[in-house]
């Protein structure tokens, strides 16, 4: 199915980033939030991304304005009657997502595809309550979506093949890299990455190494672009903790972070976004 118009529900950083990616591909996109302040911040975030593209010489001011004009903010479902594909990006609470999706489904054409951008909740559970779960799937963008190329395309139990194919085509159309992933806790990338992170935390303790030493060794080895501690800070320690708890509950203690992150979160250190995590960040 060809997508002529898209929508993103939830104007937090992730929702705004996804809307920006869609607009950059030339597709009109509605960005909706229930909170006027959040919607304004989301739209401002998108503007900022385009301003930086212009400043870096990646597009002209005129091109940036044309792309930005493709994004329309909404506080209600006005204009959703001809949306072909909508992506839900509200906070990671199951009941909230289900309620938003039921409302969303009622405002879209019957043929529309609905996606969730969850990184931890089961797609099949989120789908419960939808009239047409066959047209529902997971499109898992990575943070920050304006930079990260991968999108995991995840079918739930009820998702039909055509919807998966349409999801893959849509992701290609917005110039991202789709990978088909069978539904499982943590999906693919976070699951594999968190297995590595948990092992690094165990090795830190067993081998008596410090985070800066480990990060320097990993970066120097060429094994990963940045050390695991810097990566966890960039991802957000609260997010890493949430994902790892989902993984540990599903697969067992190889995903146990040994309380390494919980203590920092208790001190308010949630990584780069909060100014401190394993490292301290200024400005």
């Amino acid at each position: 199915m060809y997508v002529f118009k898209a929508a993103v529900i939830g104007a937090g950083t992730m929702g705004a980033e996804i809307a920006q990616v869609i607009s950059l591909s030339g597709l009109p996109v509605l960005l909706k939030d229930v909170d006027p302040g959040q919607l304004a911040r989301g739209l401002r975030h998108i503007e900022g991304i385009y301003e930086r593209r212009v400043a870096r010489g990646r597009m002209t001011q005129r091109e940036a304005e044309d792309h930005l004009a493709l994004v329309e903010g909404r506080l209600d479902y006005t204009g959703f009657g001809d949306v072909d594909l909508a992506i839900e990006a509200v906070p990671e609470k199951l009941e909230l997502k289900q309620a938003v999706l039921r409302e969303l489904e009622g405002s879209l054409p019957r043929t529309a595809i609905i996606a969730t951008n969850t990184s931890a909740l089961p797609v099949s559970e989120i789908a419960q309550g939808l009239a047409k779960p066959s047209r529902f799937l997971g499109l898992h963008f990575f943070f920050p979506a304006s930079v990260m190329r991968l999108v995991e395309v995840i079918g739930g139990e009820a998702t039909d093949d055509e919807t998966i194919d349409s999801g893959v085509e849509f992701v290609e159309g917005i110039r991202r890299i789709p990978v088909r992933v069978k539904e499982c806790p943590g999906f693919l990338v976070n699951r594999v990455l968190m297995a590595g992170l948990a092992e690094v935390f165990r090795a830190e303790r067993d081998l008596g190494l410090t985070p800066p030493e480990i990060d320097a060794a990993v970066a120097a080895s060429g094994l990963a672009p940045m050390g695991p501690y810097a990566l966890a800070d960039a991802l957000g320690l609260d997010i890493a903790q949430d994902v790892s708890e989902t993984l540990r509950a599903a697969y067992g203690d190889r995903f146990d972070l040994g309380g390494r992150i919980a203590g920092l979160i208790a001190e308010g250190k949630r990584g780069a976004k909060s100014g401190a995590g394993f490292y301290t960040y200024t400005g």
């Binding site: 990978v179 992933v181 699951r191 990993v218 672009p225």
Partner: protein, 102 residues
Amino acid sequence: MANENEQELLDRFRYAVLLEAVRCLDEGVSSAREIDIAMRAGAGLPEGPLAAADQAGLDVVLGRLQELERRWGERFAPPRRLQDLVAAGRTGVAAGRGFLEY
């Protein structure tokens, strides 16, 4: 930092990632090719974990996992799929076939 500890740390990270990737492969979460694409594009790894193992040689990987298992426990136990590949002579890039085909 002692060089030996550094090597041990890198291998524990490398092989924890590889083993989870193999579990995903075994469970049919994604194909070998797509798992590697995902880890490169989604996690920024310069090389996919399965291709990296093929490059190192799966016989070498198998031997190192056996050492890690003895030292750190059964979470490093070599997966059946890896043992079968080595037994079948599919030891990676040099053999033309491993987790991926060359």
